[in-house]
């Protein structure tokens, strides 16, 4: 690493939200340990984007490879939200599928997926959608082999569409304030159902409904991080150590957890109502809380921590 770039990969100083996919991976891993598969020099580019007169990326918007995390071998995938919104195209998806399938024989300590995606790349929609289904099957196979699959969510593009379904398939998820997890994005809901159903320009509404704090409070994510690479690294190490098994007991527990969520909060119109029912004293104050105050709040919410994923 050249000296001029050293500051930008200091894990404490580097903002996860602002960093590129490659910066995140390099700074997340033990220094010098990251080794990329199908690196940009191989120029595996989309065969489909030229049809739409769109620029291509040498890595098709995803970085995959091996690294060490606290000395333990891991496989890592990182989506680049700045290229086509981190969306799943044919090559992009196939790189992730290949990495997960490789885990079955390599048996790493974990597979880390650094989500930063709007979902399916529409110019390659059928390939992207199918790759998402293949990814979910592969994650289940990896988890069933006893290998934790950890999702880290805090990028510009959030984790939308099929990305949200993949995230829900992981063993554990860490999220930052800027991370959003959702299936339909705000614009999609507004376009299809109108602004009275969801006003996508209301950014506070977007964060309350899909943002990291809400997901953490209701148990949709297992750790909340400040926006730094070192915070995500610490969370990943912690989550690897307490990943739930993939079996009937876990899914029965998840069924009960999700049924209970609808029974308790199914009539809530806004996240602040849910937070109040969860026992958060000053639910209006949640969006402005710093990480320490938020962690204290989370520690008093029973629903936030579970093995039912």
């Amino acid at each position: 690493m050249a000296g001029a770039h050293a500051a930008s990969t200091d894990p404490d100083a580097l903002s996860w939200y602002e960093a590129t996919a490659r910066q995140r991976v390099v700074a997340l891993a033990d220094p010098g340990s990251f080794q990329e598969f199908l690196p940009p020099t191989e120029r595996r580019m989309s065969p489909h984007l030229p049809l739409f007169d769109l620029p291509r990326a040498f890595d098709d918007g995803i970085v995959v490879g091996r690294a060490a995390l606290d000395g333990k071998p891991v496989l890592v995938a990182a989506q680049e939200g700045r290229f086509m919104g981190g969306a799943f195209g044919e090559i992009h998806g196939a790189k992730l599928v290949g990495l997960l399938r490789a885990a079955l024989t390599l048996k790493p300590a974990a597979v880390l997926i650094l989500f930063d995606t709007g979902g399916v790349r529409l110019q390659e929609a059928n390939a992207g959608e199918t790759a998402i289904a293949e990814t979910m099957r592969a994650i289940v196979d990896v988890r069933a082999a006893g290998i934790p699959v950890i999702g880290l969510i805090g990028g510009r593009a959030g984790c939308y569409g099929g990305g949200g379904l993949i995230a829900g398939t992981c063993s554990r998820l860490a999220v930052s304030e800027g991370g959003r997890i959702s299936v339909s994005g705000p614009e999609v809901i507004e376009t299809n159902k109108g602004a009275e159903e969801f006003d996508s320009r209301d950014r506070a509404l977007v964060w309350r409904t899909m943002g990291g704090k809400h997901r953490r409070l209701i148990g949709g994510a297992d750790a909340f991080c400040t926006d730094s690479v070192s915070a995500f690294r610490e969370a990943a190490l912690d989550l690897i150590g307490r990943a739930p098994a993939f079996d009937l007991a876990t899914l029965e527990a998840e069924q009960a957890r999700l049924e209970s969520r609808i029974a308790r909060f199914g009539d809530c119109r806004d996240a602040t109502e849910i937070w109040a029912r969860l026992g958060v004293n000053d639910s209006e104050a949640v969006p402005a809380m710093d990480t320490r105050a938020f962690d204290e709040t989370v520690s008093r919410v029973r629903e936030a921590d579970h093995d039912a994923r």
Binding site: A94, A102, Q123, M136, G161, L248, G266, A271
Partner: protein
Amino acid sequence: MTLAEILAGLFPQGHSVTVRDGLVTGSGSFGQGNLLVVGVDGDTPLGVDGALILSRAVLDAVRAGDKAPILVVVDSDSQRMSRRDELLGLNEYLAHLAKALLLADRSAHPTIGLIYGHSAAGAFIATALATRILAALPGANPSVMDLPSVAKVTKLPLDTLREMAKSTPVFAPGLDNMVATGAVHVVLDPGQPLDGQIRDLIANLQPGDDRDRLGEERGGRPVARGISAAVIAQAGRG
């Protein structure tokens, strides 16, 4: 083909399959045992409530331990697009349903998808695409997004997209294109008895996920299989 016609073809001796709010659950006698049916009918969007009803039925079957085959019938809309669904964490609910089906598959339940109508986006991924083998009936219309919406997002004229769709299966909606990508394994013959065709699918289930191989052979996903194989090869080199 309608769901009623499908069920009549599958279960000449009758069945207990019901449709409520567009959600299909029940079973019928099939060969030596039972066939469990879950799914979505009537172009219904799949939201948090519906996903849990279907996953409950699947998990009950896994717990029963009879290894009965599970048929996932699909004529759905996309995921339900609403503030309430996203507030409650729709991604967890849809993923949970997919995981239940994948667990059933791992627990020796043959899982077969049957798309006979529409399906799209998250609803498609959580149901039909989470089965071991996906069959379709002619007239089925799976899609990720309809062409007018693709035109809006890509800012290309609709006529141009229609022209491109004829030669490029990778982005265009429709059954033929989903067959070409390998997502749909096989198209059934509505002129032949359905129960026998489903029984043949169950008897010939292959281990593993062969959708990228099919996509390569059929030309709808020309490079995916090679890319994932290349990643595996490079990962295998110390």
